[in-house]
Amino acid sequence: MFDDNLKRTILLEHYKNPHNYGLKDDERYHLVHNASESCIDDIKVQMLIEDDIIKDARFEGVGCTICFASTSIMTDLIIGKTKQEALDIINEYYKMIDEKEYDEDILEEANAFDTLSKQANRIKCGTIGIHALEDLIRNYEQ
């Protein structure tokens, strides 16, 4: 979908200036700390859902380019969506990582990861933040 130059630009931009970065000191937000057992990425992800709409999703921590860029891009994609819409987007992302057929249009900038499946040792980097976001949505109680 994207050529390598565009992918590189997208990843670099989101790594250097991650979107929705920095946690809010606001007790309405729910938080998960996702420290993967065999990965050095260590991030906290935060979310605010009101009336079934994801009002905000944020993250903070230490991580590699793939971890930061994928989490940054995914927060962009799901903010403003309903819980179900967000889960659908995340599911399309997983399909892409699993090399299954997926809907490119729904993933927008996340298509930059369409060859991540070829880098077996980096798949975890590209899913750690996404898993955290999914956990937050699924376990969110008003």
Partner: protein
């Protein structure tokens, strides 16, 4: 003479990976042809359980198995092969000391002395012992660069509460060699025992347990040319003999009856319940023989030359931060400024250079070096200057853009 081109030929791995620059021997080492052949011969020529069969093959396998204790003893300067217990690896060896010795001998208020250099395997069992016995974990304050400070150590001992000191011979991240002989001498003055985690030290140093006078020494076969799944616990006989094994089972008992009365075999057999990793131990025998033949002194000398060469080259690069500029043992831990360690590792992988990135299981070391993640390049007897040059060339013009390019 140490002839690198000849040594490389002894490692079939290089036949299948001609262009691979393997710089991760601190994680696991390559294997010699003799080791691989020994494992294969057990499978193809004399498969048999040991110490059980009344036939020739069982006799052959048993003999080789028993002889391995002698060869290991020769390698580490041990004069009593009964002090060699085979385990599944250094982790199992350390756990044996923790659960068979410390758990039964430590009590509330006793101190277990550690350092921040510890690999998870030499800290988590001790946390558990502390929790179960009420003993307290204390850390010996290191020098700012992570090296050992004997004065600080002595102050820790002066409380009189230290019952066991457990620390690495060589730090698996920083490559510093701890002064084990002095450490043991001082500990014994204060009636404390010393367990040495030799996983990184034994593969690289001329070890003499009698001179060191350590009470326990743990190490793994797979980091010293042998198969995985094999380790050694060396312990002073009087200690091992008093301790109770953690596992009970076949091969470790002499007799038992229905009332539950058990007579265990002698040390070391009482610690080796169940059929052991026979082929692994026979392979390990060849690994030890190979190391003895090349000579640990020669290996150390080669390691030192290569380490110095690597330090000299890498420190000329402005974009690299080295965390152990005074490394003493075949390990360099570094980061590239502005690039996350794992991105560096992936980029090096794209250039066929294998390194380790992360915290290397030493999750409290950040208290010393100030960072959680590093790139670790580690060397062994089969590495040469060309491997360092490949690393140098890759790091010389590494950029974040290139690292990202490597994953597209």
């Amino acid at each position: 003479m140490f002839d690198l081109s000849k040594i490389k030929k002894d490692f079939p791995f290089y036949k299948n990976n001609e262009d691979l620059v393997y710089l991760d021997s601190a994680a696991t080492s390559l294997k010699t042809e003799s080791v691989i052949d020994a494992v294969n011969e057990y499978y193809t020529e004399y498969t048999a359980n040991i110490h059980r069969g009344d036939y020739d093959n069982s006799f052959i396998a048993s003999k080789l198995y028993d002889e391995t204790r002698n060869v290991v003893s020769e390698l580490i300067g041990n004069d009593n092969p009964k002090q060699i217990i085979f385990t599944s690896g250094a982790t199992a060896s350390i756990n044996t000391v923790a659960y068979c010795y410390a758990l039964n001998n430590l009590k509330k208020g006793d101190v277990i002395l550690l350092t921040y250099l510890e690999h998870a395997s030499n800290i988590l069992p001790w946390f558990n012992v502390a929790k179960k016995t009420g003993a307290v974990i204390e850390y010996i304050p290191l020098n700012d660069d992570g090296t050992f400070n004997l004065d600080n150590y002595k102050k820790c001992l002066e409380s009189g509460k230290v019952k066991i000191v457990t620390l690495p011979y060589v730090s698996n991240v920083l490559g510093y060699i701890n002064p084990i002989k002095d450490i043991c001498h001082l500990a014994h003055e204060y009636k404390a025992l010393v367990h040495v985690d030799g996983a990184q030290g034994v593969p690289h140093l001329s070890v003499n347990v009698k001179e060191l006078d350590c009470d326990f020494l743990s190490f793994s076969s797979h980091k010293m040319l042998g198969p995985s799944g094999v380790g050694v616990l060396y312990g002073k006989y009087e200690l091992l003999d008093k301790m109770e094994p953690l596992f009970m089972g076949g091969g470790a008992n002499a007799r038992f009856n229905k009332e539950g009365e058990i007579i265990l075999k002698e040390t070391p057999e009482k610690y080796e319940a169940g059929t052991p990793n026979i082929e692994g131990i026979l392979g390990f025998k060849k690994a030890c023989e190979y190391l003895i033949e090349v000579g640990m002194g020669n290996i150390y000398k080669h390691d030192q030359e290569l380490l110095q060469y690597a330090k000299d080259r890498l420190k000329t690069l402005d974009n690299i931060t080295i965390y152990n500029p005074n490394s003493e043992c075949s390990i360099i831990a570094f980061n590239v400024k502005g690039i996350f360690a794992q991105d560096v590792g992936s980029y090096l992988n794209s250039l066929n250079i294998a390194v380790r990135t992360g915290n290397h299981c030493a999750k409290i070391l950040h208290n010393v070096i100030g960072v959680n993640e590093t790139v670790r390049a580690s060397f062994y007897l089969y590495n040469g200057k060309e491997d360092v040059d490949a690393l140098y060339d890759a790091l010389k013009d590494i950029t974040l853009e290139k690292c990202i390019g490597a994953i597209l």
